[in-house]
């Protein structure tokens, strides 16, 4: 136990002193900080220019009928508040010329109340003017039609502006609301496990290729080495996540007012506490099971170059699990058969079960079974990994087959 503590401490210190590890964490925090302050920065810039209303881009309306032009202008002024709406009497060519020269940004040339041509110099990807114009013109057309058929303008206005009062109550989970933060958590889980798994494997292979292993195996028990390494990397990964998400939460609260209009961002930071606890459980267990596997595989590689090919099967297994979960999430049915099976298989359950808990309603006993299976497998795989490690670290030369190693592990025990 004492030895485990010392290995754990040494390995953890290794991570925390690692410049790349610290660098990535700081960059992530800075990136999040910048993102969190964006609304404030925008409103700061925006408030500076709000006095200069004259700088609004000009939108021209052209029509053969002056009444139509006036009517449309009235509606457009409301609908396009960002534009300075003007009626032009010139020809269509004049209009085009003004747009090309940049004096005017865009123009609606109406041939009737229900047909127009939209002129713009460069059509932006985000140009929604046509959509807005269609809605507005439809409204104008309908109102006109109603008035012409005998209704008063007030009656027509009332009909046009009727509001439907509807309430949606989700009795289970609101998938729309949960989708984003579940996605972020699954993705964080995915990134951290892949990143740290590779780190554990590289760590073991480095010790082996630098021959520090010769001394380590004669100084410490393999079980202590394996558990010390893996648990230290788990804590390091956990600390990194806490640092990143913690600062995100802190910065969000500082800028809460600026974000108040954004329901999406708001939903991310309103994760229920219970779900957060589940996240922790599945994060730790999922991390451990993969880190043990990566460590064991790392011990079978003699050279650092072998690591990438050696860990491929595990990485594939993990990526497949990730995609099953993500596809189920996007398809909207997280309780499909594949997901149900996956939520009991230890290698996929951290992501699959967590997603089901987050986005659906899972009976408590299913959760208990899934977590128990996972805990059992973590212990089992941990012990097996330590045994593979013990055999693997002293084998140099060609990378032995995993099957051969496992056979020799069982033969010995």
């Amino acid at each position: 136990m004492k030895q485990f503590g010392r290995i754990f401490q040494f390995e953890l210190k290794g991570y925390l002193k690692n410049k790349i590890f610290v660098g990535i964490t700081i960059i992530m925090i800075v990136a999040i900080a910048v993102a969190m302050f964006i609304p404030n920065i925008i409103s700061l810039i925006g408030s500076g220019s709000s006095d200069e209303q004259k700088d609004r881009p000009i939108m021209l309306i052209h029509s053969e009928s002056p009444e139509l032009s006036l009517l449309v202008e009235q509606y457009f002024e409301e609908a396009f508040a960002d534009y300075d709406i003007k009626i032009t009497d010139g020809t269509v060519d004049d209009v085009k010329e003004q747009i090309v020269s940049g004096k005017v940004e865009c123009a609606f040339v109406l041939s009737s109340a229900s047909s127009y041509t939209y002129y713009v110099n460069n059509l932006s990807m985000y140009d929604v003017n046509v959509g807005i114009a269609n809605t507005v013109l439809q409204e104008v057309y309908r109102a006109n039609a109603m008035i012409q058929s005998g209704l008063t303008p007030e009656q027509a206005g009332e009909i046009m502006s009727v509001q439907i009062d509807g309430v949606t109550t989700a009795l289970g989970k609101d998938q729309m609301k949960n989708y984003l933060y579940t996605y972020i958590m699954i993705f964080a889980l995915y990134m951290v496990i892949l990143l740290y798994g590779q780190m554990v494997a590289t760590n073991v292979a480095t010790e082996k290729s630098s021959r520090a292993m010769e001394l380590l195996v004669t100084s410490a028990k393999p079980t202590n080495m394996m558990f010390g390494k893996v648990l230290a990397s788990c804590l390091a990964g956990f600390l990194q996540l806490v640092a990143i998400f913690g600062s995100a939460l802190l910065l969000y609260n500082i800028n809460k007012n600026a974000w108040s209009g954004n329901v999406l961002i708001g939903s991310i930071f309103n994760i229920p506490v219970v779900l957060f606890i589940y996240l922790l459980i599945f994060f730790v267990l999922g991390f451990l099971i993969y880190a043990f596997l990566y460590g064991a595989i790392g011990s079978t590689a003699s050279k650092l170059e072998d690591i990438n090919t050696a860990v491929m099967p595990i990485t594939f297994l993990f990526i497949i699990a990730f995609f099953v979960v993500i596809f189920s999430m996007t398809s909207g049915n997280v309780d499909n058969v594949v997901m149900k099976i996956c939520s009991y298989i230890p290698f996929t359950s951290p992501m699959a079960m967590f997603t089901r808990i987050a986005m659906s309603t899972v009976p408590w006993y299913e959760i208990v079974i899934s977590i128990s299976l996972l805990i059992g497998s973590v212990v089992g795989i941990g012990i097996l990994a330590a045994k593979i490690y013990r055999v693997g670290v002293l084998l140099y030369g060609n990378r032995p087959r995993l099957g051969t190693i496992i056979k020799s592990v069982f033969k010995k025990s």
Partner: protein
């Protein structure tokens, strides 16, 4: 303290690496474990250090099963290597505490050894900034810092310059003087001859020769004479096939019968211009080659 390795068998897969290996090493003396590449020395050392168990046989200290919690072992592996990117002092302390020292004592011991080996100036440097010889000195500290009862040194002199070799010799003598068991494994026979009181030669997994080095040499068949002379041609012509020339110019005469020794010596002195004549005593190198080259 007496370390006894008794009838050790070990196989990896179908290959039997050790076949009934036994030897005895005593405290206050150095023991040489010799053998060609791949003979099974490292496997024997690993079993001795409990890296993996033997299939058969046992390791005893003073007649009882070795207790790895009590008996401390220091090991300088032939394949050298520590953490290249880590600070020297940090990793030395780490290896010392791994072997059961508390942090305070480890710091003290590491500083003592850095000073003893003239490496204090590198204390806070990364290992990979050091030359190979200096890295080796750092590695030696990992074998000695925790004051082990048994010191196992695998090729300790390879890569050291003469001054550092001298320093290491002093350190080894000091360890022997403290009553520790020092177990050498080396191909540099001159060092083994200089330090070791007893040896064991392993060949293809079997101990082919073991015992007190002095006795081994004395018991070697004394049927050859070394002759230094100004007129080697005459002797060579007279003795024919039984006489050959050594690399240093001296002559080696093989006797048909050991009992002829006195007569032949007398004859040589009387009839030829002889500077020196003596019975050939084999070097360890000769003994090693003789016992290991047969079974290739």
């Amino acid at each position: 303290m007496i370390l006894e390795v008794k009838n050790i068998d070990k196989s990896f897969g179908k290959k039997q690496v050790l076949k009934g290996v036994s030897f005895v090493a005593e405290g206050g003396k150095a023991f040489g474990l010799l053998g060609r590449n791949g003979a099974g020395k490292t496997t024997a050392i690993r079993i001795l250090m409990n890296v993996f168990p033997a299939d058969n046989g046992e390791v005893l200290v003073d007649g009882e099963h070795i207790d790895y919690n009590k008996i401390k072992i220091g090991y300088l592996p032939e394949e050298r290597g520590l953490y290249p990117k880590k600070i020297i002092f940090d990793q030395l302390v780490y290896f010392s505490v791994l072997k059961g020292m508390n942090k305070k004592d480890a710091v003290k011991a590491v500083d003592h050894w850095l000073d003893r080996l003239g490496m204090l100036e590198y204390r806070n440097k990364r290992l990979d900034t050091l030359s190979k010889g200096n890295q080796q000195k750092i590695q030696l500290i990992t074998a000695l810092s925790h004051d082990p009862d048994i010191v196992i040194l695998d090729e300790p002199f390879s890569g050291l310059d003469p001054v550092n070799a001298m320093l290491l010799k002093d350190v080894v003598k000091e360890q022997i003087g403290k009553g520790k068991i020092v177990l050498f494994s080396s191909h540099q026979m001159n060092y083994i001859e200089e330090f070791c009181d007893s040896i064991a030669i392993i060949n293809t997994g079997r101990v082919v020769l073991k015992g007190d080095l002095h006795d081994i040499k004395r018991n070697y068949v004394r049927d050859r004479l070394v002759v230094n002379t100004e007129t080697p041609e005459r002797i060579m012509a007279d003795f024919g096939d039984s006489c050959s020339k050594n690399e240093d110019g001296s002559l080696l005469i093989k006797l048909d019968n050991v009992s002829d020794k006195q007569n032949v010596m007398k004859k040589l002195i009387e009839h030829y211009d002889i500077d020196e004549v003596k019975v050939f005593e084999p070097s360890l190198n000769d003994i090693f080659v003789e016992y290991t080259h047969k079974e290739i």
